[in-house]
């Protein structure tokens, strides 16, 4: 098979640094990590074994099929699911050895009947999704005790999510943590064109002078937004330039002026500002969203590959 030429590189050393920072900030709280949506686009197959090795005790996902995927990667850890069908029989939870978070007495009983190894009890907070009232909670805890099913309150189960990967769901830059993901592709082609030439679909960019255009094989088929053209930046050797023209499904262009980097030089679209690379947060600000959505929207096309970490 051909060598891949677009990649989501996962920096396992940065992930380890984030785990250490999390321990510092929480004064040693247990590491329960939310890894839904393919670990915010980072790739379960790479990050779940790494986090297990870094001491994660539990993984939280929304759905049954995600729980199965995590279980296959993490035999020892607790796997918690948060989203179930109204009439779910929880048969899958027994098979995947998953622990459902339940929001009603009825849901608890269905899970208990299926023989789950434990439950997390969601308390009603008066906002967001409904949960168990104080009265129901007492009833469920007594019943769980009688059935011999370990039950844990969700308030005693603090979960860290996208921040552990250096991206935030809340519009900030997750400043306490380092970016873990780098989306890059090797420079595929260079082309010399004259002044006034339109670039990419719709000619939304025109060259100002004779220049060199670089072809980068990343597009919205990989999860780089189509509207990122002329708005967000990509970097070569730590120098970031705004993408020239519209991002297509499979490629975008950079206007390099008189620079002529070698073919194959890495072009980074999402990375770490300390290396002069654009970040998910920077992309998010330009595109009116948050960093977690920027990484989550990466499709399966760029392969995920771990870098660093313990041998």
């Amino acid at each position: 098979m051909s060598a891949p030429f677009r990649e989501v590189e996962i920096d396992l050393d940065a992930l380890a640094a984030n785990v250490a920072r999390f321990a510092e900030l929480t004064e040693g709280a247990p590491l329960f990590v939310e890894v839904g949506a393919d670990a915010w686009g980072h790739g379960l197959a790479v990050v779940v074994p790494a986090l297990a090795g870094l001491g994660a005790q539990a993984f939280v996902v929304a759905r049954a099929d995600e729980a199965r995927a995590v279980r296959a990667l993490a035999p020892e850890q607790l796997v918690v699911t948060t989203q179930h069908a109204p009439d779910d029989d929880f048969a899958w939870a027994g098979e995947a050895d998953a622990v459902p978070m339940v929001r009603s007495i009825d849901e608890f009983r269905r899970a208990a009947e299926a023989g789950v190894q434990g439950v997390v009890l969601a308390e009603d907070t008066g906002e967001g999704l409904p949960g168990l009232s104080a009265e129901d909670l007492a009833a469920v805890m007594a019943e769980a005790d009688a059935r011999g099913i370990p039950a844990m309150l969700d308030s005693a189960f603090p979960v860290v999510g996208a921040e552990l990967f250096g991206v935030s769901e809340f519009g900030d830059a997750a400043p306490e943590f380092e970016p873990v993901l780098r989306l890059w592709a090797p420079l595929a082609a260079l082309k010399r064109v004259g002044a006034g030439e339109g670039v990419s679909y719709g000619y939304t960019y025109r060259t100002a002078a004779e220049t060199t255009l670089a072809l980068v094989t990343l597009g919205y088929g990989d999860g780089v937004s189509r509207v990122a053209g002329n708005v967000v930046r990509a970097s070569i050797d730590g120098v970031a330039r705004t993408i020239a023209g519209r991002v297509a499904m499979d490629a975008f262009m950079l206007d390099l002026g008189d620079e002529a980097p070698a073919l194959g030089t890495p072009v980074t679209v999402l990375g770490d500002a300390r290396r002069g690379e654009p970040t998910a947060h920077e992309h998010a600000e330009a595109l009116g969203t948050h960093g977690a959505e920027i990484t989550t929207r990466l499709t399966a096309r760029p392969r995920r590959a771990g870098k660093g970490g313990r041998a």
Partner: protein, 346 residues
């Protein structure tokens, strides 16, 4: 209990037949890149062939090899190659390749080619993505003709991409294309298949059809035009995205899908979806859930239709594109791999 993308293969085949009839007698290629625009390439390749396409287009050789391994026998075409591209495998398994540069050609010729590699030379007609520049074209053609005479490749086609930048730009591109073809013939090439048009030009610019029209987004039922709907060009959306209602209360309903499934969070506030055939405004989109209003009558377990063909009150992919500030191609392509695709004939 997850969001599900139902792929209506009957609609897909109707679209292909409609598009083929629109450009007949010119044959069509259906594009299957980016996992068939999010529809699942393994599920749609066979039905595309059954619908009578002349060829299937993918992006990279590996995708073509995967189709061959799955038993697809139709002509295949791949046109974007990394430095490690396996041209030997392309030759062995009959995957035609598009080549843009002398470097790419040399890379191919450096590999053992068990059979002549079928090559389509690409001229840049103004998109300025890949494709040889006018200045580089003669050298590329000469080298290709020489390799053809040596029995290593077969120059089967000449192709390009239009920039969708208006009629004037299309006319200029068409002229550049014809000039490049004429020059290639002068230099000794005899390409049998000239192809330039994708969905848009295929439908509105007959002069761009040549020997093959490459249909991408239109085959999946989304109009390539700003000013003509899918229905107006006779195609229907192939993908329907549904998800169950998981909570109700206070006139709102929570639906089990969100940006973790590939919806665009920025569409919240503008977007709507259908429950029981009636539109409900999408108020907020989270990773795994979204919240709709106007849902007093909604019940837990009801099916919400996020988008679909639009026949039962639901929005279409084009509606979501308008709400998210993009095009239908991106709406469909971004539906996350964690969303199961169910391929059905209706």
């Amino acid at each position: 209990m997850t969001a599900t993308a139902t792929i209506d293969l009957s609609a897909f085949q109707r679209n292909i037949r409609t598009l083929a009839a629109a450009v007949a007698p010119v044959p069509v290629m259906v594009m299957l890149k980016a996992d068939a625009y999010g529809h699942g390439i393994a599920g749609v390749a066979g039905p595309a062939v059954e619908a009578g396409v002349a060829a299937l287009g993918v992006l990279e050789i590996d995708e073509g090899l995967a189709l061959r391994a799955a038993g697809v026998r139709a002509p295949l075409f791949a046109w974007l190659h990394g430095t490690g591209a396996d041209f030997a495998a392309a030759a062995e398994h009959g995957v035609d390749v598009g080549l843009s540069t002398l470097d790419e050609l040399r890379q191919a010729l450096a590999q053992p080619l068990a059979a002549p590699l079928a090559v389509h030379l690409k001229i840049d007609t103004g998109l300025h993505r890949n494709g040889a520049t006018t200045a580089d074209w003669p050298a590329l053609v000469r080298a290709a003709v020489e390799a053809e005479r040596a029995g290593r490749i077969h120059v089967r086609g000449v192709f390009s991409h239009l920039a969708d930048a208006g009629a004037e730009a299309d006319a200029a591109a068409l002229a550049r294309f014809e000039a490049a073809v004429a020059e290639a013939r002068r230099l000794g090439a005899s390409p049998e298949i000239l192809h330039l048009a994708a969905s848009s030009a295929g439908l509105y610019l007959p002069a761009a059809r040549f020997d093959l029209v490459r249909f991408g987004i239109a085959a999946y039922g989304v109009s390539p035009f700003d000013d003509r709907t899918a229905a107006e060009i006779g195609v229907e959306p192939v993908m329907t995205l549904t998800a169950p209602v998981v909570e109700v209360g206070d006139g709102r309903a929570v639906v089990a899908t969100g940006w973790g499934d590939g919806l665009h969070e920025r569409a919240a506030g503008a977007a709507s979806l259908a429950i029981a055939g009636r539109r409900r405004p999408v108020l907020a989109i989270g990773p795994d859930r979204l919240v709709v209003g106007d849902a007093d009558d909604a019940t837990v377990g009801a099916e919400a239709v996020v988008f679909g063909p639009g026949r039962d009150g639901e929005p279409t992919p084009a509606d979501w594109a308008a709400w998210a500030g993009t095009i239908g191609d991106e709406i469909l392509t971004r539906i996350h791999p964690r969303v199961p695709r169910h391929h059905v004939f209706r």
